[in-house]
């Protein structure tokens, strides 16, 4: 235990912990949005666009984070605008983006000779390289996500439940949807920074899915998501310190276990 206390006295490790806790408690709320608006294909696309952005950032010699944020935000704004039409052809668009982005990323990286370790960082995250600026950015994003759900709770609930009904009541559905898309984009980019492209779902999606197994409404789904998110990120962090594991992978493992357990528990509940 004293080893952990000693580790936490190192600023880099403290930053990592704070970053993981903030992300776990806030970005995890976006999973509920992904599930209810059927955006699993879209979030996949965003992850790959983020990869391309990170590769471009590395190749051009500035930060991978800036590259990922720029491209992912751009893509999510575009998707938000084209909204409805996107979902119709979602699978073909996803295939296009996914393969195209990956191909572009690998070509860029090999052409410009980015060191393999940095490339690995993009895929698996490199949370111990979090700067104070990164941390502030994640925190600001977290506040915006939570504020959005607090300020427009009923509007978001209506859009997630039934967008046609929402429209007929006068809810600015397109505005709400576009905003959720942008939040999702920013959330994916931030998670990419923390745990890497391959493990984004551990923060963004899995806690939400687990929460929806038990929730009785949107409010409880959000609270449970945040709880599972913190459990995954915090638990993963300390497990990583204790067993000397990579933080991202450890958090993803805990997240997976939470989802598996909650699926099992809810299956038993349904039968009983």
């Amino acid at each position: 235990m004293s080893e952990i206390a000693a580790a936490l006295s190192i600023p880099v490790i403290r930053h990592a912990l704070i970053g993981m806790l903030v992300a776990g408690s806030t970005l995890s709320l976006l999973g509920v949005v992904i599930v209810s608006l059927h955006l699993t294909a879209i979030r996949f696309t965003l992850i790959h666009v983020g990869l391309l952005g990170a590769a471009a950032g590395l190749s051009l010699g500035f930060s991978s984070t800036a590259g990922a944020f720029t491209l992912v935000l751009l893509a999510s704004v575009l998707m938000g605008i084209s909204g409805r039409r996107m979902s119709i052809s979602a699978s073909s668009v996803t295939g296009l983006f996914m393969t195209g982005s990956l191909a572009g990323a690998f070509l860029l990286l090999s052409r410009t000779g980015v060191p393999a370790m940095e490339v690995f960082g993009v895929f698996a995250g490199n949370i111990l390289l979090m700067t104070r600026v990164d941390l502030v950015l994640v925190a600001v994003l977290g506040v915006v996500v939570v504020a959005a759900f607090v300020l427009a709770f009923r509007e978001i609930q209506l859009v997630l439940l039934d967008s046609e009904l929402a429209r007929s009541l006068g809810v600015p559905v397109d505005l709400v949807t576009s905003f959720l898309f942008v939040l999702l984009g920013a959330g994916v980019a931030a998670a990419l920074r923390l745990v890497g492209a391959l493990l984004v779902d551990a923060i963004i999606l899995l806690p939400g899915i687990a929460a929806l197994r038990f929730a009785r409404g949107l409010a409880s789904a959000l609270v449970l998501s945040a709880f599972f998110g913190v459990l995954a990120c915090g638990g993963g962090f300390f497990a990583a310190l204790y067993f000397d594991l990579p933080i991202g992978a450890s958090a993803a493992a805990v997240s997976t276990i939470i989802l598996a357990l909650s699926s099992a528990v809810s299956a038993i509940q349904k039968r009983g």
Binding site: V35, L161, D162
Partner: protein, 257 residues
């Protein structure tokens, strides 16, 4: 019978009650292609009006125009005595309308029946930081009772049968305490028993509340219970006075005179 081929708002001159809906020569459709052709329609306050038409006739399109979800391609639209031209007008009118959509898809996330009914009041008594209050819960409770689903209040909407979901949607539309209730095929997908039961409730609620109601469907309506039943055929609205309380025999199909 009047000799005019189509109902015009002028046909209501001399009839008591202000027109709540007043469409004149309204065309509407999708992607620049008209589905409704110069429809004129007037509905007075307190009326119960049915519109019957085949699949694809444009019934849902007409309701979408009345709801402000679709902007007319031509013609004029007056609702509750106000010309509807821009987004501000539409928002103003949407506060006064309750809507029962054609299909009630079970949602992707959990919501209790009571909560979904409460959402019908969005824009009336709460929005954004203005939260629903005790008065809203009371309105919800009353309408759950009115539609006969009080015992389902705490159930997840997704666990309801189609007929129960339809009643929840009706309760939600009514909980808005609207001046005008628009219903799109409210009974079509229900079995005979549930259909009769829901229609009975709608008729009772109309006679007790006096809310103006417009119901569209492709199945036969109990014409004698309605003030008027109109026919929509390929985007053309047929004369209004063919089926009303003084002429109960002509509820079947037929051409213009």
């Amino acid at each position: 019978m009047m000799p005019s081929a189509a109902v015009t708002p002028e046909s209501l001159v001399g009839v008591t009650g202000e027109p709540l809906i007043r469409l004149q020569g309204v065309s509407g459709g999708y992607n620049g292609k008209a589905v409704l052709h110069e429809v004129s329609l007037a509905v007075r306050r307190g009326e119960l009006v049915g519109i019957v038409g085949q699949n694809g006739a444009g019934k849902s399109t007409l309701l979408k125009i009345l709801l402000g979800l679709l902007t007319p391609m031509s013609g004029t639209m007056e609702m509750f005595g106000r010309r509807i031209r821009d987004a501000g007008d539409r928002a103003w009118m949407q506060k006064r309308i309750g809507y029962l959509a054609q299909i009630q898809e079970p949602p992707a996330i959990p919501v209790t029946v009571a909560d979904t009914v409460l959402l019908g009041r969005w824009g009336r008594s709460f929005a954004g930081l203005r939260r629903p209050g005790a008065a809203d819960r009371e309105v919800v409770r009353r309408h759950l009772e009115l539609t006969g689903i009080a015992e389902l209040a705490k159930r997840d909407l997704r666990s309801l049968s189609g007929g129960q979901r339809q009643r929840a949607a009706l309760a939600r539309a009514l909980a808005r305490e609207p001046e005008l209730l628009l219903m799109d095929e409210p009974t079509t997908y229900l079995d005979k028993h549930a259909r009769n039961d829901l229609m009975r409730r709608i008729l009772d609620i109309h006679s007790e509340s006096g809310i103006t109601m417009l119901l569209v469907t492709h199945v036969e309506l109990p014409g004698r219970e309605f003030d008027r039943v109109l026919h929509l055929d390929e985007g053309l609205l047929d004369r209004a006075d063919r089926t009303d309380r003084t002429d109960r025999t002509a509820s079947d199909e037929g051409g213009a005179p």
